[in-house]
Symmetry: C2
Subunit: 115 residues, 2 copies
DNA sequence: CTTGACCATAACGTATTTGTTATATAACAT
DNA sequence: ATGTTATATAACAAATACGTTATGGTCAAG
């Protein structure tokens, strides 16, 4: 079984793969901000930022709250949670491999593993 | 200054954004495999898998070892490490916000229910 | 009601990604 | 040598990503 097709994870990792979007997230770690406030540091047009925010929202990395004519953005934990849940697969495998290195001599003594 | 342009992170997150590549990584958590072994479960040609592996290698998520005519692939920790280091930024911000929310609710209600 | 600020969406060009087929290279077996 | 297996690379087509300009909608202020 191939397992791995998860549109949610696709969206989250793809959202994180862009430096502008990561910079936006980094900015949001300091607190909420409106779209205009988020756009200000970049040499980019406002529509471009709007689409980046849409991608981040679709990935569950931010949420938006309307207040008058402004949209306040803040970090959301759902996107990070699913990303972290998947990465745990790699983390545990890598730490297992590391443990195996500890017992390498033992493993060599007891023969080879199943293949 | 905007900070956030990191080609290494771009490569790692982009590599993780593809379901085929995540499936390859998931397979490698069970141990080393050759290119052909990795390609076998997929309805995809071998050159396509070869390029996915190149992307994963460039992102520091796998390493390859030549043995005769075969290339054995295994997980590498460097890619995951840089990814995790960056995500820690989000994690700490989200937990800070969560703490603040706790304090805020406390201050507002001084003893209402906790969801 | 008109104006202006804030934000979203559509239309579009270009670069990048992802697959394909065809072919090259290197090692191994006959 | 010849053929076969394992893998990489080049050339190409289709889809997607990312930016732009142009424009539309909503709210707040005068």
């Amino acid at each position: 079984m191939i397992q791995g097709a998860d549109a949610n994870l696709d969206a989250a990792f793809l959202a994180l793969a862009d430096p502008t979007r990561r910079a936006i997230l980094a900015r949001l770690t300091q607190g909420e901000a409106t779209v205009m406030q988020l756009a200000e540091p970049f040499e980019m047009t406002q529509p471009a930022i709007s689409r980046h925010l849409k991608v981040l929202e679709g990935a569950g990395l931010i949420v938006r709250r309307a207040e008058g004519t402004r949209r306040h953005c803040r970090l959301s934990d759902t996107g990070l949670a699913s990303v972290d849940r998947w990465l745990e697969l790699l983390r545990s495998a890598l730490s297992r491999n590391y443990d195996r290195l500890d017992g390498l001599l033992d493993a060599m003594n007891s023969g080879k593993e199943k293949e």
